[in-house]
């Protein structure tokens, strides 16, 4: 499915008239960008979105050649999305940034009783307390989530966290790693790491609960005469029997070939058959079908 995004008119985004000079366009862009630049608005998501729109509009209108093509309708405003890049703020707020400057609150820490109880003059927490929980997201390939295994997450500070993925892990599941959160202060216990799992979709398998669904193409002769065919499962291909006269839409169940459950049992794999004609026209088949006098109309129920 294609996602349709509405792209605003770049002239409206920059707030200039259609006949504005290049100079006016640059001025309008600079004025907006000064206000909206993400690094000058570190906490403001809306500013970042607006900045993206303004930058995209300026990419188009700031270049006279591109602008002329846009005015003639040869290109539209959607083709100019910028590649995402990392802003300074994505790094600067981490404790370890060499540029972070504490002079903006140095006076609080020395003069205020409450704050100086909590923070030392170095801005570090000063009372005994359990560390906070931290949240991570981990993207897994479909089969890695089903079959389980070990994965490593590299944390922003460069350290590595080992994560045990239990078999059958599902999209949205949260794994709790005890003691892997933020350190406690003054001997307090560390918090937990909560890892939210995101499972990437698979090319052929779809998971529904503990069952795996898959569409399996079969040939015309396999459909009519039946036979043994190979079917993919999350743990490898298996051979299954297609009964005689199996139509498109027939569902066959492979017991125990689905998702592993906590109790050690497994869900099933449901195979939906799809009858496929050969990709290239086959004169022999055409001749044969022409000589076949079937009277069956598959559209009877539709009364046409």
């Amino acid at each position: 499915m294609t996602e349709i995004s509405l792209v605003a008119d770049p002239y409206t985004v920059l707030g200039v008239k259609n006949d504005a000079s290049q100079d006016d366009i640059q001025k309008a862009y600079r004025k907006l960008a000064k206000k909206l630049h993400p690094d000058l608005n570190p906490g403001n998501k809306r500013a970042e979105e607006q900045f993206k729109d303004v930058s995209a509009a300026y990419d188009l209108l700031g270049d006279p050649a591109k602008r002329a093509r846009f005015d003639r309708g040869e290109i539209d405003a959607s083709g100019v999305e910028r590649p995402q890049h990392h802003f300074y703020r994505d790094f600067a707020e981490r404790g370890g940034s060499p540029y972070t400057d504490d002079s903006g609150f140095a006076d609080f820490a020395t003069n205020d009783d409450i704050l100086s109880q909590i923070f030392g003059s170095d801005g570090r927490v000063n009372i005994r307390m359990r560390g906070a929980d931290v949240h991570y997201r981990l993207e897994l390939d479909f089969l890695d989530a089903i079959n389980g295994g070990k994965r490593q997450i590299t944390l922003p500070d460069g350290s590595v966290l080992d994560v045990n993925i239990p078999p059958g892990t599902h999209d949205g599941q949260i794994l709790r790693l005890r003691g892997k959160g933020r350190p406690g202060t003054r001997g307090g216990a560390p918090g937990d790491a909560l890892v939210e799992i995101e499972v990437r979709p698979h090319r052929i398998f779809v998971r529904k609960g503990d069952d795996i669904h898959v569409d399996l193409p079969i040939s015309l002769s396999e459909a009519v005469l039946g036979g043994k065919v190979k079917a993919p499962t999350p743990t490898g291909a298996v051979t299954m029997t297609v009964p005689k006269w199996s139509n498109t839409g027939t569902v066959l169940r492979l017991k125990g070939k689905g998702v592993p459950r906590v109790d050690g049992s497994r869900g099933d794999e449901l195979v939906t058959l799809r009858v496929m004609l050969p990709e290239k026209p086959d004169p022999e088949l055409e001749k044969f079908v022409a000589s076949w006098r079937g009277s069956y109309s598959p559209r009877q129920a539709m009364e046409v």
Binding site: A33, F91, G123, A132
Partner: protein
């Protein structure tokens, strides 16, 4: 040693980076893999380039950088403070 080009802004060459180090806008530090600049340095270089493109003149750039760094310092403190409060609540909830 070759710099990883991933985070590096296309419009900033080595000579410019050297000038910015000399001006005190960037710091270079030999890290373990022998690179002069890290991701945060490149992100800062991009910010400097963006500021120049926005018409901020070179005399004003250290003022902007100084204020931005103080803002990040405050945001870092605020975040620590919020995490501290949150941890305190979690501890209370457990008790």
């Amino acid at each position: 040693m070759e710099q990883p080009e991933f985070f590096r802004p296309a419009s900033v060459d080595d000579e410019t980076l050297d000038q910015w180090v000399e001006a005190g806008w960037l710091t270079q530090h030999q890290n373990l893999s022998g690179q002069r600049f890290s991701d945060v340095d490149f992100a800062r270089a991009r910010l400097i380039r963006d500021l120049q493109d926005l018409g901020v003149n070179d005399d004003s750039i250290p003022i902007v950088l100084g204020l931005v760094d103080q803002l990040h310092g405050l945001r870092h403190l605020l975040r620590e403070l919020l995490l501290t409060i949150k941890a305190q609540r979690q501890e209370q909830d457990r008790a």
